[in-house]
C-alpha cells in the first residue's frame, strides 16, 4: 500500500503523544516544583528508491530517498527554576540552584525539589518529613529528629543548617544540615510521580554538594518553588500540535482518495 498512509499515521501518533505531554504539563501548572516536559521529534529511516551514482558522465548525483515518517525521540524535562512563592511557613523550603532534596522512601532514597515539608510524629520521634510522610535526609544520610519545643522556632539558613530556640530563648544548633545533591544530567532522572525522582544510568549518581567543590545551591526558608509550566507556551504548543495532527489526517484522506481511484480503474 502507500507509504504516505503510514507516514501520516505516524505523524498523527507522534502528535498525539505530544498532546499527552502538553496536557500533563497543563494539569501540573499548580504542582509545587513541577518541571515541564517537552517532546522531541526525529525523522525515521529513508528508503532509497535509486542510489546516487557519481560515475563520471552518466548517473545521478543525488539518490532518491523517501522518508518513513516521524517518531518521538525523547521527552526532555526542563529544569529551569519555577517562580518562588512566599508562604511564610517556616517548614516550606525552596532551592535556588540545581540541587535536590533527598528523602527516604520504603524503596530507597528519592530526590525532589518540592520543599513543602512538615513535622510528623514517627514512632514517638518528631521528624521532618514530606507531605507524603517520607523522612527528609540530612548530611550523613540521617533522618532529621527535632525536639518538641523546636517546631515553633525553627530556622533553616541558606546552607540548610537547622537551628531552633530552646525554652530559655537560646539559639541551639540541632546538629542537622539538610542534604542537597546534584546530578550530572538531571534530564536523565526518572520521574516517579509524587514530585519524586529516581536515579538512572543516564542521570549519573547523586553528588553531595557539601562534599564537593563548586557552586552550591541556596535554601530559602518560607518559600516554595512553583511549577515552571507557562500556560501561554503550553497553549501555543497545543494549538500547533492540533493543527499538525489535522494536516496529517488530511494526508491520510488524500492517500486514501488516491487508493480509491486506483481501485476504480477496473470497473
Amino acid at each position: 500500500m502507500m507509504r504516505a498512509l503510514y507516514s501520516a499515521a505516524l505523524g498523527m501518533k507522534a502528535q498525539q503523544t505530544n498532546v499527552d505531554i502538553i496536557s500533563n504539563n497543563l494539569a501540573n501548572v499548580n504542582t509545587t516544583a513541577f518541571k515541564k516536559d517537552k517532546a522531541e521529534f526525529k525523522d525515521l529511516l529513508y528508503e532509497t528508491l535509486s542510489r546516487a551514482d557519481v560515475v563520471a558522465g552518466d548517473g545521478k548525483p543525488v539518490s532518491l530517498q523517501i522518508g518513513h515518517g516521524v517518531t518521538i525521540s525523547a521527552i526532555t524535562k526542563s529544569f529551569s527554576e519555577g517562580n518562588l512563592e512566599r508562604t511564610e511557613n517556616p517548614l516550606d523550603l525552596a532551592i535556588q540552584g540545581e540541587g535536590f532534596f533527598v528523602v527516604s522512601t520504603p524503596n530507597g532514597p528519592r530526590y525532589t525539589r518540592d520543599g513543602s515539608f512538615k513535622v510528623s510524629n514517627v514512632e514517638g520521634q518528631i521528624k521532618l518529613v514530606t507531605s507524603d510522610g517520607y523522612p527528609v535526609l540530612a548530611e550523613g544520610d540521617t533522618e532529621i529528629v527535632l525536639p518538641e519545643t523546636a517546631i515553633s522556632s525553627i530556622t533553616i539558613d541558606e546552607t540548610g543548617r537547622i537551628t531552633y530556640k530552646d525554652a530559655e530563648g537560646q539559639i541551639q544548633d540541632s546538629g542537622f544540615k539538610i542534604k542537597i545533591v546534584r546530578f550530572i544530567n538531571p534530564q536523565g532522572l526518572l520521574a516517579e510521580g509524587k514530585n519524586l525522582y529516581n536515579v538512572s544510568a543516564a542521570s549519573g549518581d547523586p553528588v553531595s554538594e557539601e562534599e564537593t567543590e563548586g557552586p552550591k545551591s541556596r535554601i530559602l526558608q518560607g518559600f516554595l518553588e512553583m511549577s515552571n509550566v507557562q500556560v501561554v507556551d503550553e497553549m501555543v504548543k497545543l494549538i500547533i500540535a492540533q493543527r499538525a495532527y489535522e494536516i496529517n489526517s488530511k494526508a491520510i484522506q488524500t492517500a486514501d482518495d488516491m487508493l480509491s481511484m486506483a481501485n476504480n480503474l477496473k470497473r
Binding site: 517537552k38 525523522d43 525523547a74 529551569s80 544510568a201 553528588v207 494526508a251
Partner: protein
Amino acid sequence: MIRGIYTSASGMILNQKLMDLTANNIANVSTTGFKRDIAQVESFRRMMTYRIYDDSSNSIDNAIGYMSLGADVSRIVSDFSQGLYIKTDEPLNLAIRGSGFFAVEKVDPQTGQVQVYYTRNGAFTLNSNGELVTLEGFRVLGQNGRIVLQNQGQIRIDEQGNIYQDGRFVDRLRLVDFQDKTLLRKIGNNLFEADVQNQQIAFSGRVLQGYLEGSNVNSVQEMVNMINVLRAYEANQKAFIAQDETLQKAVNEIARK
C-alpha cells in the same frame, strides 16, 4: 496494447511517490532541524516514431514525430532554507543561524567503528559522563573531539561556537559547511551523511544558545502540493479509464458488425 495506458499508469505511480514524499514532510512538521524534501520530475526519454510498412511512402522521411511515454522522479533534494527559531531558554539548546551543521559521532555498538554525521538539530544534553550528546546519545564533536563538561557551572556558548563554563574556555564546537549540500544524504534521526568527495568549506553561520531551529516544512505549501498531487492522480486515472473504454469498444464492438 495501447501505450497510453502505460503512460497514464506511470503518471499515477509518479504521483503516488510524490504523495509519499509530501506525507513524510507533513509528518515531520514538528521535527527539530528537519529540512523538507522536494522532488524533481522528468519525463521519460523522448523517442522518435516512424511509419513502417507504408507502401505509399517513397520518401525517406517517414518519421511521425517524437513521443514521450511517461514520467518519473529524477531527483529528491532537501530544501536547506532556514526553519523558524523557537526560544527554549535551555542552555544546551543550540540553533544555527545561516548555513552549516553540527558534527556528531556515532559509534557502531558491534564493530566500535566511529562515523561522523551532521545535524541541524541542536537539542543537546549531557550524558552520565558529562559529555555533550544529542538526545539519541550521539556525542557532539568539538575541535578536540568529544566535549566534556563538568556537572556544575554556568555553560555559555557564543556565536562562534566557543563553549565556556564558569568563564573557563572548554572547547569550540565543530561546525562545518559543505560546498554542495545537495550531496548530503538523510539517514534518519535528524542526521545527514556526507560523501568523502563532498568538500567542506568554512562555517559562516552563527550559533544561538537557548534556541532550537524548527522544521522548515510549511504546512500551507504542503497542503497545496497534496491537492496538486491528488488532482494530477485523478486526471491520470481519467485518462486511463478513457483509454480502457476505447480498448473495450475495439475488442467488443468492432467484431460484431
